[in-house]
Structures are given as C-alpha cells and as structure tokens.
C-alpha cells in the first residue's frame, strides 16, 4: 500500500528555470509533510516542511504547496541550479490512535538540472 506517491521518477530542467516536483498521498490523516534531497551514497537531507494546517511554506528558493482537498503537495525550486541535481523524496508523518507515528517516504524523483 503506497500511501505516498511520486509518479514522476525523473525530471530534467534547464538551469535558471523552475523545477516542480509533485507528490500525492492517500491518507488524509497525515499531520506533516517534508521534502528531502538525497545525493548518491549519502543520507537524505531535510529541505523544507509543511504542517497539514497550512497550504504554503517558503524558504529561499524552495516553496512547498499543500492542497489537502486534492491530497497533493509540490516542491517548487526557483531558480534551479545544477547543484540541485539529486533525488527528491517527499515524506509524510502519520500519527496513530495509539500515539505512535511513522515517517512514510515516497519513491523519489530524480531531478537533473542542465547547465
């Protein structure tokens, strides 16, 4: 059961243009969403997050949008830079009725920014 989905396995964007990475989820009980960037042979690095009560969060070149009715979030990178080339994972935190929680990761989108 893939609760967090990234339907585009890869994306290529010209340097300076906008990169838009998409993520869909199925569970309306997610409390918090995060985006991570991962370079080969390294651990995921946190980029930006958004609470389920918000619809937008911005940090420098990175903006995350959340559309709860569509169960969809997106990460916008403007302007894109070659150093942004990496695999991007969206993740969601779900708390359970027993008070536990779990991070669930999407399958990742490989972004390539072309110089």
């Amino acid at each position: 059961d893939q609760q967090v989905k990234q339907n585009s396995p890869s994306l290529s964007v010209q340097e300076g243009r906008i990169s838009i990475l998409n993520c869909d989820y199925t569970n309306s009980m997610f409390d918090y969403f995060l985006w991570y960037k991962k370079y080969p042979a390294e651990g995921p690095t946190f980029l930006i997050s958004i609470s389920s009560i918000k619809d937008k969060n911005e940090d420098g070149r990175f903006t995350v949008f959340l559309n709860k009715s569509a169960k969809h979030l997106s990460l916008h990178i403007v302007p894109s830079q070659p150093g942004d080339s990496a695999v991007y994972f969206c993740a969601a935190i779900r708390s359970t009725t027993s008070g536990t929680y779990k991070y669930i990761f999407g399958t990742g989108t490989r972004l390539k920014v072309l110089a």
């Binding site: 409390d31 995060l34 390294e42 609470s51 994972f89 536990t100 779990k102 991070y103 990761f105 399958t107």
Partner: protein, 113 residues
C-alpha cells in the same frame, strides 16, 4: 553543525551471521529511526524509537531485527541472522520532536554474501 554519525560505512557479512549497525544520533534529539534503501528502490521505514522503547515498526522489522540504545548516546540496529535480501543501505535518523525534521546519517551499506 551537529550531525548523525553511522559506523561502519560499509559492512560485508556472510549469510546467517549477525550484524550490528551503529549510530550516534544528535545529542538533544529524543526520537530515533532506522530506514533502509535497497539499491534502486525507495527509502523504507523500519522502526522508530522513543523513551527507550519502540514506538512503531514496519512489517519489514521482523523478529530478526532489534534496536537498542545501550548507553544514552548510541543507537544500534541488530540483524540476528542476515539474509541476502537484507543487503541495502541502512540509514539512522534522529529528530528533536515528533513533528520536526529528521536528520539522517550517511548510511551503512550492508552487503550480505
């Protein structure tokens, strides 16, 4: 900047052997996690740990797996009898609070032969 450290960076083991993967989370963090990523596949949640006990575990985290925080600084993942399919990159992570971002270590590449 504080970071999560994992040792070793690469571990090769024979099938059926026990392995212990070690992690030192960020010192003021209270929540600890293990994830794994099989080559070419997604990052999969294994287990979360809080207040000296497992908070949540996935279906992957069966009786062959265990976690421990033996001394207040280390956080270990033990696989009792490794299988070929356990070969993966294992990531440790920690977070300060439940809904803050998790910081990941560089990973331990486990190769079971």
């Amino acid at each position: 900047e504080p970071e999560v450290t994992q040792t070793p960076s690469h571990q090769v083991t024979q099938m059926g052997q026990e392995v212990i993967l070690r992690c030192v989370p960020i010192s003021n963090h209270l929540y600890f996690y293990w994830y794994r990523q099989i080559l070419g596949q997604k990052v999969e949640f294994l287990v979360s740990f809080y207040n000296n006990e497992i908070s949540e575990k996935s279906e992957i985290f069966d009786d062959q797996f265990s976690v421990e925080r033996p001394d207040g600084s280390n956080f270990t993942l033990k696989i009792r009898s490794t299988k070929l399919e356990d070969s993966a990159m294992y990531f440790c992570a920690s977070s300060e609070r439940l809904t803050t971002e998790a910081f990941f270590g560089q990973g331990t590449r486990l190769t079971v032969v």
